[in-house]
């Protein structure tokens, strides 16, 4: 049905009868981004020859703003990998999350690692330069495929949902029926698509749904709903109901869920199964966390009890945070810090964590899996974050090591405070490697590794005392300070020394943004294990921490976990790390920004986050409580 050769002359070889009447894929609206003007011109010429409608730009930011301004203005994006202003993979993530457009990567670099990176970041294709026109002739397939997948997913989800609601006895039949009908409709669709003549165009058009823009709030709502349902069990229909957003269709939710899962999976690393990130994390980390949990003294259990959040939501938050831009709306999540904790605890299967350490571990694990970048953003519920943070702290070293394949768990499980440090180091190192990938927030991690570990030590002792709600973010900034000092100031971090005053402030912050914090923290933890350590570091200042802990406790969640607050702090740090890391990892889309926003107002972290360049997502949390001014820089 295509006439790719139309532009170049008569193409007698067109098969099928649709050659004449079916204009598709002509008119495909392509946005091509490349900093190389020669390539850009050549590509434009080639694409025009394919009868596509081409828009070219040489800067990623311009491309993003173009895409945002014309939500439905493009069908596909082609982007170069190496660009001076923004990494191609980062752009890829942004586009995938915000606009849900297929993105093709291209580069003169044909090394396997880079191609794999493209795949893991969700690129639909990878072209090696010099790009030939034949390769461009077929890019329309990605557009069609994506639309069909969305259609199928929504249909499939629907059938799955329906089946799930029936009894087992009926399930088979109903599912069979559904499947059958789904397949049938799918087949119908295929037939339609294959049809020649104008039908194709119509079918294709019917595949085109008005693009839904997943704003930060919307995404937060989505993540909240997913977490509540459970990443594994979340079905688009239920998510849709929970989100209760007018105008949102199940298909939209289904496709977004798909992407979200991919994102989670990517963040989670190889070992993590996307749906089971939370669980897998926890299990995997159990052994390692065991010691940690004890060390941390986080009373996750207490948290668990206090928290009312369903474990799922917490896990989801984490996942959500990691996977995608986040913007879990606070209200949507309504993740209470307490609930988050409780959620976490039950979720955390690892016994160790359960009580202070165990819970933490779990958290960390969860966090780990969650894409670092996204976490901050996604976790709208501050509470979650906190929990996570704490957990992260506990398992900080561990989780980081696990996920990040960086230095491996340096920290010996046994040493409580030292463990934290180590964890941090591990985290740091882990995060560092991650960070180094992305240009953005690497600053924190590299240097942080060393500093953080130190910080953690201090912090670990403090941890139990502080009930910093996700304050960990602040903590992170603090820890980052150290890092900054050593490595290279992260940009806003002025914290030269791990000033644990931040924690004090942090808890306050979290109080305001309990929901967000919780969520974010969870997310942050994963990615920013470093931060956790950082936060730990922050908590080192005993006195301040103590105040903070109390403060945090009061504010944040009125939780009963003093120790947890400390954990939070760590989490905060890690959160921050995560957010930063998120920025690094190209995949830090909005979630990261969200996270950033939380902190940016307050402390270094936010500054760091900002530096990351992540678009600040609407922050529902206002950290009025926190004033990081106290942090000695």
């Amino acid at each position: 049905m295509l006439n790719p050769g139309q532009g170049r002359g008569p193409d007698p070889g067109v098969a099928g009868g649709s050659s004449n009447s079916d204009p598709f894929p002509a008119g495909l609206r392509v946005l091509v981004v490349d900093d190389d003007p020669t390539c850009l011109m050549i590509l434009e010429r080639m694409l025009r020859t394919c009868l596509y409608r081409v828009t070219k730009c040489n800067r990623a930011e311009i491309a993003l703003s173009l895409l945002r301004k014309n939500k439905n203005g493009f069908d596909i994006v082609i982007s170069d990998v190496h660009m001076p202003d923004m990494d191609g993979f980062k752009l890829l993530e942004h586009v995938g999350l915000e606009m849900d457009l297929p993105v093709i990567m291209m580069s003169a670099d044909d090394s396997k690692a880079v191609v794999l990176k493209g795949v893991t970041h969700g690129a639909v294709d990878y072209l090696i330069k010099p790009v030939r026109i034949e390769a461009l002739k077929n890019i329309w397939q990605h557009v069609v495929r994506k639309k069909r997948n969305e259609w199928n997913v929504s249909e499939h989800s629907g059938s799955v949902e329906e089946t799930g609601q029936r009894e087992d006895g009926d399930n088979n039949s109903s599912s069979a029926n559904n499947e059958g009908s789904w397949r049938g409709s799918r087949k119908r669709k295929e037939e339609e698509v294959d049809e020649q003549g104008g039908d194709d165009k119509e079918d294709t058009s019917s595949l085109k749904k008005p693009r839904v823009v997943w704003s930060v709030e919307l995404h937060q709502q989505f993540v909240a709903a997913v977490n509540q349902l459970g990443v594994d069990k979340a079905v688009p229909k239920k998510i849709l109901e929970m989100m209760n957003v007018p105008g949102l269709t199940r298909e939209n939710v289904a496709s977004h869920l798909q992407k979200y899962r991919i994102y989670l999976r990517r963040l989670g690393g190889v070992s993590q199964h996307q749906g089971n990130m939370n669980h897998s994390f926890m299990t995997g980390q159990d052994p390692s966390f065991g010691p940690l949990s004890t060390l941390n003294g986080f009373d996750l259990q207490a948290l668990a009890a206090a928290g009312q959040l369903p474990a799922q939501s917490l896990a989801h938050l984490q996942a959500a945070g990691l996977a995608r831009p986040p913007s879990l709306s606070k209200p949507g999540m309504s993740v209470d810090q307490r609930s988050i904790f409780s959620f976490e605890n039950p979720k955390i299967r690892h016994g160790q964590m359960m009580n202070s350490g165990g819970g933490g571990n779990k958290q960390m694990n969860l966090l780990h899996g969650v894409p670092m970048g996204m976490e901050p953003r996604q976790f709208t519920g501050g509470g979650q974050m906190r929990v996570q943070q704490q957990q992260q702290q506990l398992s900080g070293g561990r989780a980081v090591g696990q996920n990040v394949q960086s230095s491996g768990m340096m920290m010996p499980v046994g040493g409580g405070p030292s463990m934290l440090q180590q964890q941090q180091q591990v985290m740091l190192s882990s995060s560092v490697p991650r960070r180094s990938e992305t240009s953005s927030s690497s600053r924190v991690l590299p240097a942080a590794a060393t500093t953080q570990s130190v910080v953690f030590n201090n912090f670990s002792s403090e941890l139990p005392r502080n009930s910093f709600p996700l304050a960990s973010a602040p903590g992170i900034s603090v820890s980052y300070q150290e890092e900054v000092n050593s490595s290279d100031a992260k940009g806003g971090a002025g914290f030269g020394n791990p000033s644990y005053d931040i924690f004090n402030d942090y808890p306050q912050q979290h109080n305001n943004n309990n929901d967000w914090d919780l969520q974010n923290i969870g997310m942050v933890f994963n990615s920013h294990q470093d931060t956790t350590t950082a936060s730990a570091a922050f908590s080192s200042s005993s006195s301040t921490q103590r105040q903070r802990a109390e403060h945090v406790q009061n504010h944040h969640q009125q939780q009963q976990l003093p120790s947890q607050s400390l954990n939070h702090m760590n989490g905060g740090g890690s959160v921050r790390v995560k957010s930063e890391r998120v920025a690094e990892t190209v995949t830090c889309p909005p979630a990261t920004t969200l996270f950033q926003e939380q902190y940016n107002q307050e402390d270094l972290m936010s500054a760091l986050l900002k530096q990351e360049g992540l678009p600040l997502v609407d922050n529902e949390f206002d950290f009025d409580g926190y004033s990081f001014d106290n942090i000695p820089v």
Partner: protein, 127 residues
Amino acid sequence: MQRQVALIKQSLFDQGYLDEQFIELEELQDDANPNFVEEVATLYFKDSARLISNIEQALERGSFDFNRLDNYMHQFKGSSTSIGASKVKTECTMFREYCRVGNAEGWQDRRGPRRLHVGPSNTGTDQ
């Protein structure tokens, strides 16, 4: 005159300065875009001149920033492959190898010949 241009062009192909990618570009040219190749070539020379001067500056400094050099080279390589300047591309690849191993002298030997490659007379509008 046209024959001369054709001869020069052919020699460029024979010597390996240009490869099939250039032919692809020529095929993109048609009546609607009669000067496409010339435009692209001009753009390429301008851009690569800028890149080369950047590279030279980087090389003149006492300590070589291999990372930055590598970046420049990558860009240069990308442009060259897109236009079909295969020899330039090969040189770029080798240069990057030198950079990768931190060999500062290795590339110097190649610097001379490489400069010859990028000449404005390489590609002319072929009629």
